[in-house]
């Protein structure tokens, strides 16, 4: 993991003491809420429906066990005993008291964490592949590049007052687990025919009220040019992005209105001016950062373990979990384990303080002390030995973190919706819970296979409903919460935006509607290997419409 430099520490301390002053002035009444608003937003503190919400950055989704214990401590001491992992790999606290926030920031700073640039019209926390550094299909580790972007974007003097917020994602594997196509900028590490490393640069992806897939504006950018190229894109955006209409201010609208070709020209033109600046990365700059992400000391193991195989046979519950929540690791004898935050008993993405502490302990015991958060709102232990899987599973089961549903129907992404969010037009958590209740049957989930279902509580689409195979959007129609159904979205390397299938359903009808959609798939698929998405793309909307409205 990246180790903070003395400067990184100093910066955090300065920020906290500054914010402490501001909070004190606010509490004394010297600052109006309006004046304070700018300050608190720059420290990740939002005013929500019932209380303040603090969003803490988890840089590219990497956490040490020590950091996780601090997150637990914060949840227990200053909140109501839990935290919420968001689709941006960050963690949010829903109930902090204003006077406690400086203390929370102190505690975070002590473990190299903060809430900087988790809100506001600036470059937000860079997100990445939760399997970075361990994935079997990895081309190159994206984390050093994420860290360079973190440093470059932190308090960037030119880009702190952009037209709108700005999100960057980096992925380094064949499979895209970072949803790069729906970010303002998405970078994918690739190799060319000469086996050189480069980056595909996607610009203008995003969700919200105008969902768009990012446009590939550069097919092969040498990694040394990453920051100069980003600087060029951001500069074009800062100059030309729309500021007259909040809903048209994201870079996706600029790219769309300018046209892809013209936009590319503008960026290239600017880049010619900056590409040899001191931001151009030298070999040693990249190497120095890479040194922070060296492989841990893996043991030399076989990828075959007799006991593990026996356990799979003797324990079908374990086998089912292993089938779903485990992925191959680049090193033989190790596996990547998904901890599901989608049990029946807790809202999507929520983790209690006790669970956090326990996860930290498990990470130390079984996974070299590291934890990752994912954009699908789960957690990952990335380095578990085959021989430890059964014990780990038992401990996870006791903690209610072993729901065997990774990438399956009940692995639902849901935004907080009306239960917490001031912008919500409908509830989303209760819908996610109703769906989980209904479809939790083990055989059914198995049979459906790989599928994604996402829910947003309003058009802002924080629940990424557009890029789910089955998306649900809650809207308020004449005082009644109704739910629109979109089908056919994907956030992976074959990214696409789902289409609305027809008129919306009430809260009472939506679960049945999803059930109908699943029926159509199960009846029409060519064989069990054909996933929902492939079947939908083959069948089109027709049979689904007919079943739902026919």
């Amino acid at each position: 993991m990246y180790q903070y430099s003395q400067e990184d520490h100093q910066l955090l301390q300065e920020r906290v003491s500054q914010f402490r002053d501001q909070v004190a002035r606010r509490l004394k009444g010297d600052l109006s809420e309006d004046e304070f608003k700018q300050q608190r937003l720059r420290n990740g503190l939002y005013l929500q429906l019932h209380a303040y919400m603090l969003r803490v950055a988890v840089p590219y989704g990497l956490l040490s066990s020590e950091q996780m214990r601090t997150l637990a401590h914060i949840a227990r001491t200053y909140d109501r005993g839990y935290g919420h992992f968001s689709t941006r790999q960050n963690i949010q606290y829903n109930w902090p008291k204003l006077e406690d926030v400086p203390k929370i920031l102190d505690d975070l700073a002590a473990v190299e964490m903060h809430a900087i640039q988790t809100s506001g019209n600036c470059i937000r926390n860079t997100t990445s592949d939760p399997l970075a550094g361990v994935a079997r299909d990895e081309i190159a580790d994206p984390r050093p590049y994420c860290e360079l972007i973190r440093q470059w974007s932190t308090f960037h003097p030119e880009f702190n007052f952009l037209p709108r917020k700005f999100k960057i994602a980096v992925s380094g594997a064949t499979h895209d687990r970072a949803a790069v196509a729906v970010h303002d900028i998405g970078l994918r590490l690739v190799k060319n025919d000469a086996d050189e490393l480069g980056m595909e640069v996607y610009v203008g992806g995003g969700l919200g009220r105008t969902p768009m897939i990012g446009k590939l504006i550069r097919e092969f950018l040498p990694p040394h040019d990453m920051l100069t190229y980003l600087e060029a894109i951001l500069r074009v955006y800062n100059k030309l992005g729309r500021r007259d209409n909040l809903y048209k201010a994201r870079i996706k609208i600029l790219v769309h209105e300018t046209g892809e070709e013209k936009f590319r020209e503008l960026v290239e033109e600017e880049w010619q001016q900056v590409k040899t600046s001191s931001l151009r990365l030298r070999d040693e700059d990249i190497k120095n950062i890479e040194a922070h992400f060296k492989d841990p000391e893996y043991e030399k193991l076989s990828d075959f373990d007799v006991d593990y195989d026996k356990e799979l046979i003797s324990d079908p519950m374990f086998a089912n979990w292993a089938d779903k929540n485990i992925e191959l690791h680049k090193k033989d004898g190790y596996r990547v384990v998904y901890l599901s935050l989608k049990s029946r008993n807790q809202p999507t993405g929520d983790v209690t303080a006790d669970q956090m502490d326990a996860i930290a302990d498990l990470a130390d015991k079984y996974s070299l002390g590291a934890i990752r958060s994912t954009h699908r709102q789960n957690l990952v232990l990335s380095d578990v030995k085959l021989s430890d899987l059964h014990s780990l599973w038992q401990e996870l089961t006791a903690l209610d973190l072993a729901t065997p549903n990774y990438n399956h129907l009940t692995d639902i992404i849901s935004c907080p919706g009306m239960d917490y969010c001031a912008l919500a037009t409908a509830r989303s958590i209760p819908i996610a819970q109703a769906l989980t209740e209904r479809f939790d049957a083990y055989d059914f989930i198995n049979d459906l296979g790989d599928i994604s279902l996402n829910i947003s509580g309003c058009i802002n689409a924080c629940g990424h409903h557009h890029v789910a195979n089955i998306g649900i959007l809650g809207v308020n129609k004449k005082g009644v919460e109704v739910y629109q159904l979109t089908l056919g979205g994907s956030a992976r390397e074959d990214a696409s935006i789902g289409k609305i299938i027809g008129p919306a359903f009430t809260a009472d009808e939506i679960v049945d509607a999803v059930s109908d959609v699943l029926d159509v798939y199960l009846t029409n698929r060519e064989d069990p290997e054909e996933t929902f998405l492939t079947a939908y793309r083959r069948l089109g909307q027709g049979p689904f419409k007919e079943k739902l409205y026919g």
Binding site: S5, E7, D8, Q10, L11, E14, R15, Q18, Q38, Q39, R42, N121, L148, Q151, W152, T154, F155, H156, P157, E158, F159, N160, F161, L162, L227, R235, N238, K239, R243, Q273, S277, S278, L279, R282, D285, N288, I289
Partner: protein, 162 residues
């Protein structure tokens, strides 16, 4: 002394803005700055004056067009129509870093102490603070943070190369 800060100190402002009403041949005496359009159309008349000259740019103006007049321009004024509108940050950096402008770059409009740290990094050295701003607070903002990561007008190298 009002709400004007230059080179980190509260100061009297010697400049008079051209309001658009005066006759070009009858501008107030002393240092004046004029909109970029006026500069372009009345350049010759303005250059005959015996005082310092400046321009005020719109956020959409291209700073590259000023380059040939750098030696006659002692002041470039950049605008912040709203605090959230950060286009002038880019204009300032280009003036300083790309084109090497050495004169005064001034921030006017919705100028709050929150932006000062970023503004100075981009090359601004004078500030007409919004009237409600507390000047001591604004002066404190220059040293709000002591750590900077990226190259900008005040720093040649990124942190990893220093």
């Amino acid at each position: 002394m009002g709400n004007f800060i230059k080179d980190r100190k509260p100061q009297e402002d010697s400049w008079t803005p051209y309001t658009g009403l005066e006759d070009m041949d009858n501008l107030p005496s002393g240092d004046v700055y004029v909109p970029f359009d006026e500069w372009k159309s009345s350049r010759d008349a303005l250059l005959k004056r015996n005082s310092r000259l400046g321009v005020i740019l719109e956020n959409t103006d291209n700073v590259a067009e000023l380059v040939e007049d750098f030696d006659r321009l002692d002041l470039v004024v950049l605008q912040f129509p709203k605090m959230a509108d950060g286009r002038a940050f880019t204009q300032a950096r280009l003036l300083r870093e790309r084109f090497g402008y050495k004169g005064e770059i001034r921030a006017v409009g919705d100028v709050l102490h929150d932006q000062i740290f970023y503004m100075q990094r981009c090359g601004f050295n004078s500030f007409e603070m919004r009237p409600d701003q507390d000047i001591p607070t604004a002066l404190g903002a220059f040293d709000e943070m002591t750590v900077t990561y990226q190259p900008a007008a005040d720093e040649e190298l990124p942190i990893w190369r220093r």
